[in-house]
């Protein structure tokens, strides 16, 4: 039995005008850390809300722990933990009060499953008597995670837990997820940060309500169909613009310190690119072959999808 399963889920808003989730299917296995990777507006939150039984899909079937999200919603609500993207705890209750409240609602106590939240809770325990609304962003996030875990859920849903969080806290958060995975909790997590994708067992890349690819991060990268180069030069932006309009180059975009590019001619190599840069008078030019990252795959799939969409029109 899969922890989560979606079959052809469709969700529209505004009388069908806005297609938020467009025929989405994927499965999350037991004990898996599964990432839903995509920008704002991709449909991630709608999927989370359908799976946690707080939103009805227009069409399609979805199950959590083998139970139907519509018929068996009461069962599911008892078995899952849900941390929404928006902070949703009681701002005027203290840390301890919030935790107690959620424990009581689920007919349990903080003590009963303490081992599960211990690592995370002890970081916020010094602020036990502070109202949740007065906590910092990082502490709010930790408290919300504790509240979502207090009843020892079988499946954990985390909707953009690291959005707006700095790079250091993001790293810490993913360490926490790794430890939870060891406790055999199945986790579905969404994020707009492509660099977090590599920390998941499997990922789905989602854009405009469509799943573009579902696989392990390694396989998605291996499926990148062309050789990818990284280049840089003194006048970075000038060269980027020239490369973009050059007919020999099929794609070129900035990627941190380097620009990433692919060539139309499969047989051309670094020497060819170096010569090309000479034509544009680039100084201090460097080029090398690199392994793509998830973000490269995402950009690639996005442009392929928009090409097929415009070909259809």
């Amino acid at each position: 039995m899969s922890a989560v399963s979606l079959e052809n889920i469709i969700k529209t808003y505004d009388n069908g005008k806005v297609k938020a989730v467009n025929n989405v299917s994927f499965e999350v296995e037991q004990g898996e850390l599964f990432g839903l990777i995509g920008p704002d507006g991709a449909g991630k939150t709608s999927i989370f809300r359908i799976l946690t039984t707080v939103l009805l899909a227009d069409k399609g079937k979805a199950t959590v722990q083998g139970k139907d999200v519509v018929k068996d919603y009461q069962y599911i609500r008892n078995k899952v933990g849900y941390m929404p993207g928006k902070f949703s705890l009681y701002q005027d209750l203290t840390v301890a009060e919030n935790l107690n409240f959620f424990a009581t609602i689920f007919k349990t106590t903080i003590e009963e499953n303490y081992s599960l939240i211990k690592d995370i809770y002890e970081q916020i325990k010094p602020f036990n008597n502070r109202p949740a609304g007065k906590l910092s962003g990082g502490m709010k996030q930790k408290l919300a995670l504790c509240c979502a875990l207090i009843h020892k859920p079988e499946v954990l849903f985390l909707d953009e837990p690291t959005t707006g969080v700095d790079a250091v806290s993001r790293k810490e958060f993913w360490e926490m997820l790794k430890r939870l995975k060891e406790q055999h909790i199945s986790i579905l997590v969404s994020t707009p940060y492509m660099d977090e994708a590599s920390l998941c067992d499997r990922i789905a890349l989602i854009q405009n309500g469509n799943i573009m690819s579902v696989d392990t991060p390694k396989n998605i990268i291996a499926q990148f169909p062309e050789r990818l180069y990284a280049a840089k030069a003194k006048d970075f932006y000038g060269l980027l613009k020239q490369f973009r309009s050059d007919p020999a180059i099929s794609s070129c975009y900035a990627f941190g310190e380097y620009m990433h590019l692919t060539l139309k001619d499969k047989h051309a190599d670094e020497t060819f690119i170096s010569e090309l840069s000479g034509k544009y008078g680039a100084e201090n030019f460097e080029v090398k072959i690199i392994t793509p990252e998830i973000e490269d795959s995402f950009i690639r799939l996005m442009s392929e999808n928009s090409n097929t969409a415009s070909a259809k029109n």
Binding site: G137, G138, M139, G164, A167, A254, F255, E257
Partner: protein, 247 residues
Amino acid sequence: MSEKAIICKDLTKQFGDFKAVNKISFDVGQGEIFGFLGANGAGKTTAMRMLCGLSFPTSGEASVAGFNVYKQQEKIKANIGYMSQKFSLYENLTTFENIEFYGGVYGLSRKEIKKRGEDMVTMLGLANEAKKLVGELPLGWKQKLAFSVAIFHRPKIVFLDEPTGGVDPVTRRQFWDLIYEAAADGITVFVTTHYMDEAEYCNRISIMVDGKVEALDTPASLKKEFNTSSMDEVFYQLARRAQRSGD
């Protein structure tokens, strides 16, 4: 008249005993893209509010676009642009109505607004959407439009607070094209971001830790100084020293 867009010396903001911003000093050149980085709670927002003329410093000195942050706050506001991740245009006005509104607030004439507005929507490829409600535009377009509106009155400096948060990787790069164009036109860009690849696109960056500027240089020099090949690692080395956390 100085050539520096921003001059900051020992700028401090104290709330009770808490020094949110603790004696920060830096200069930003006209037309420079300056990345203002720091962990949550490091004091970035507080510093930015002082520089935008929204909050008085406790001590220290600063001038923005040549105006004093204590005495000339209104002049500062008229000479800067501001945009944040939170979308701030009116969703129930059309693209062109938003342009007219913001142009009017900044005191441009109707004639100027019409001319510049038409140029702007053409450049953004939004000519067909100019009469559509802004609320109906896709998110990526909204952010690009918000940026263009923020520099519509041709400010000397534009402040961008996490402008690309949650935006898809293609639109994020298109957004940086707009930043580069603005800088090439001489507009100083002061930008915060959590994306470390974007830090690389800045001419110089500063990294704040616990209210202080702990590093300030070009991305290349910082990587050299911290003996690493990635900005991510530079940030990590600095920010994990932080004692305080929060927003």
